[in-house]
């Protein structure tokens, strides 16, 4: 159009752009949690890990000037928090869900405390790759400015799917998750497998946090996560512990988050609270449709404390 606007096309474009922009933290956290849960443990603390990752990435990027160092720092912070969770859970008679809640509060609290001086400064951001060079529609070009981390996340999903099915490590994780006794009989330490799985899960969740503070929305503040970590943990359950479904679910959540603002921008102004709540309504709907009193969820690892 002559005035540079694209009218109603804004909505599908925003949902598409939002799916790419907003989904990355969901994707990393849910893939991380997928690994942890497949080993037979739930780490609810990933919300705290996400926020700690965001804070440490921002801090390191600000101090060193290199956003990639920040991403690495976020991953390491996440792995350490994962190790803490796994360490506590390896003690006898410790409930992993309770530890997860404690670590969620610990992680967010610590991040707010250490992140206090980071709210004001501006840190170096992650670069974006311009995939929209072929288009002369500026809106599309903006939506196609994609961050490498998103592509990495998209690549990890099929890789994990393949690894769970065909590699030795995948088999070990699944064995620990399905039957701890079988893993022990094979001569493996279940606790060690779960420690590693939780650390890898934390590493990925930390990187998801670095995306929030270093790319989009792109600065550190205390409202940054607003529950995205905990949403991503729930997302694993209705993605049936399947990495590929985690990918689609994350994209759907990202798109749903963009729906509310996009509809308002084209003039659909009534009920914006409802549209803003779209991701949560989606969660509830899927949970209700898929639940059954007669059986446990298909695909649920048998060792999980919620299915046992």
């Amino acid at each position: 159009m002559a005035d540079g606007s694209i009218g109603l096309w804004t909505v599908p474009l925003a949902v598409f752009g939002g799916a790419i922009r907003v989904s990355t933290p969901f994707l990393f956290v849910s893939l991380g949690e997928c690994i942890t849960e497949r080993s037979g443990r739930i780490n609810l603390g990933l919300e705290g890990t996400l926020v700690m990752g965001a804070m440490s990435a921002y801090g390191i990027s600000y101090l060193s000037g290199s956003p990639w160092l920040g991403v690495l720092a976020a991953g390491i912070t996440g792995a350490l928090l994962g190790a803490l969770h796994a360490g506590i859970c390896s003690l006898p008679r410790v409930n992993d869900i309770a530890v997860g809640i404690a670590l969620m509060l610990f992680g967010t609290g610590l991040a707010f405390f250490l992140g206090k001086p980071l709210i004001e400064p501006t840190a170096a951001r992650l670069p974006a790759i311009d995939f929209g060079w072929w288009s002369d529609v500026p809106q599309l070009r903006a939506a196609l400015r994609i961050n490498v981390l998103f592509l990495v996340g998209v690549a990890i999903a099929p890789l994990l799917y393949w690894a769970f099915r065909t590699t030795r490590w995948g088999l070990l994780i699944r064995t620990a998750g399905e039957s701890a006794d079988a893993a022990r009989a094979m001569g493996h330490s279940v606790l060690l497998i779960r420690l590693r799985a939780t650390m890898v899960g934390g590493f990925l969740a930390g990187i998801g946090g670095s995306f929030l503070s270093l790319f989009y929305p792109g600065s550190w503040n205390e409202g940054l996560s607003s529950g995205q970590g905990i949403t991503a943990v729930a997302l694993v359950i209705f993605a049936r512990w399947d990495p590929m479904l985690c990918l689609w679910a994350s994209l759907a959540f990202g798109g749903a988050a963009a729906l509310g603002p996009a509809l308002q921008s084209v003039g659909v102004t009534s009920g914006y609270h409802l549209f803003n709540a779209a991701p949560y309504i989606l969660t509830l709907a899927i949970m209700i449709i898929t639940c059954s009193p007669k059986r446990t969820l298909t695909g649920a690892p048998a060792e999980l404390s919620i299915t046992r």
């Binding site: 606007s5 694209i6 925003a14 707010f112 709210i119 929305p217």
Partner: protein, 369 residues
């Protein structure tokens, strides 16, 4: 936060000693010091609402004989009552500034009834005659500064489309949106303002999405009314749009995109309040003012603001300073075509009707519900 608690424990010991001292008839020298408590709903360095108040608190810290205690991230629930009680009982605060909108009723009113000798000054509330006399509310007519921002935005936009990222459709927010739009229409009668409500005061992802959606619609100048404008300012600047700031000066975040902005000037107001108290006067229960009273101010213009825009904005600013300019001058129609202020009616800044605003003026694209 945790350091605050440690010092509070020391203060508890200190005040116990003080109480003991006074029963023995020995007045402590510390009585000469006035303690003032500031309560913020968010973080003190958020480049926004809370930072503006913290700058005011910082101005008080420089005054002799004044001690400032602060607590951040206090939710608008019973928690703020506990904070107020502990500031009064443990820190010995005699003047409190609970700065967030939702602290006023019932929380601050309840505390004001409970502690009749303590002064409470609330930002944004509507003090009425039935409320306790030791409580007061103050606020700035920041719509005057938004009006100036609107004029500058109207000259600067190429598409004629302005964007407003807003939190909730409450009167203060609607008044800012309307003033911004009316200002823009002075410069460009065809200008429109597209508004997006995010639903809450601090929603960084929603604010970023709203910013992107607006720019996708062809909006090229944005402003906002949320607690921390940093997300909007940075994301808009990255997309090559221009911005008008809010709460404090955000030009360090986007020096090339920052046109001007509507800022609070609490660092001028709070020392005035303290002077009134030390002089033995009482602060008026209902205190309001705008540019003239130095409660709000306008950010310095960015370099891309044209000479024409500067001149027009400065002219209007001069009229505000002289105290003879009305923004909401009838006839004004809302964006559904209904007349909300009849021709010949001037709603001056002090008009209480304006504090009940529930409409968006003609030129705003959006709805209040």
């Amino acid at each position: 936060m945790d350091f605050g608690r440690i010092s509070r424990r020391h203060l508890l010991q200190g005040s116990a000693a003080l109480a003991l001292g006074s029963t023995l008839g020995v007045r402590s020298a510390a009585a000469a010091e006035t303690t003032i408590g500031f309560i913020y709903v968010g973080s003190r360095d958020d480049y926004g609402y809370n930072q503006a108040h913290a700058q005011g608190a910082a101005a008080l810290k420089k005054l002799p004989g004044i001690k400032v205690v602060e607590e951040e991230k206090v939710p608008e629930t019973d928690a703020v009552e506990k904070t107020m009680e502990s500031m009064i009982n443990l820190d010995g605060a005699t003047l409190l500034f609970p700065t967030s909108f939702g602290y006023y009723n019932p929380h601050m009113i309840k505390m004001a009834n409970k502690f009749p000798k303590i002064h409470f000054e609330h930002c944004g509330g509507l003090w009425a005659d039935k409320d306790p006399k030791n409580a007061g509310s103050y606020f700035g007519y920041i719509d005057e500064a938004q009006y100036i921002s609107g004029i500058v935005a109207g000259y600067s936009t190429k598409s004629g489309k302005l964007g407003f990222v807003a939190a909730k459709p409450i009167p203060q927010v609607l008044r800012n949106i309307n003033a911004f739009t009316l200002g823009a229409k002075l410069a460009n009668p065809k200008a429109t303002t597209q508004v997006i409500f995010t639903g809450d005061w601090s929603m960084p992802v929603k604010e970023a999405e709203a910013t992107n959606s607006l720019i996708d619609q062809g909006v090229d100048v944005l402003t906002c009314h949320v607690d921390g404008p940093k997300t909007m300012v940075e994301n808009a600047a990255r997309r090559g749009a221009m911005v008008c700031g809010y709460h404090v000066n955000q030009s360090p975040l986007a020096p090339k995109a920052y046109l001007t902005g509507a800022e609070w000037n609490w660092e001028a107001l709070y020392p005035k309040f303290v002077k009134m108290i030390t002089a033995g006067e009482s602060i008026p229960n209902f205190y309001r003012g705008g540019l003239k009273e130095e409660i709000v101010k306008v950010s310095p213009y960015g370099e891309m603001v044209s000479a024409e825009a500067r001149k027009h904005a400065d002219d209007v600013k001069a009229k505000f300073m002289a105290g003879n300019y009305t923004i909401f001058k009838g006839p004004i129609a809302d964006n559904k075509g209904k007349t909300v202020i009849a021709g010949g009616t001037d709603r001056g800044q002090q008009d209480p009707e304006l504090e009940k605003m529930d409409y968006l003026v003609d030129g705003v694209i959006g709805a209040t519900a």
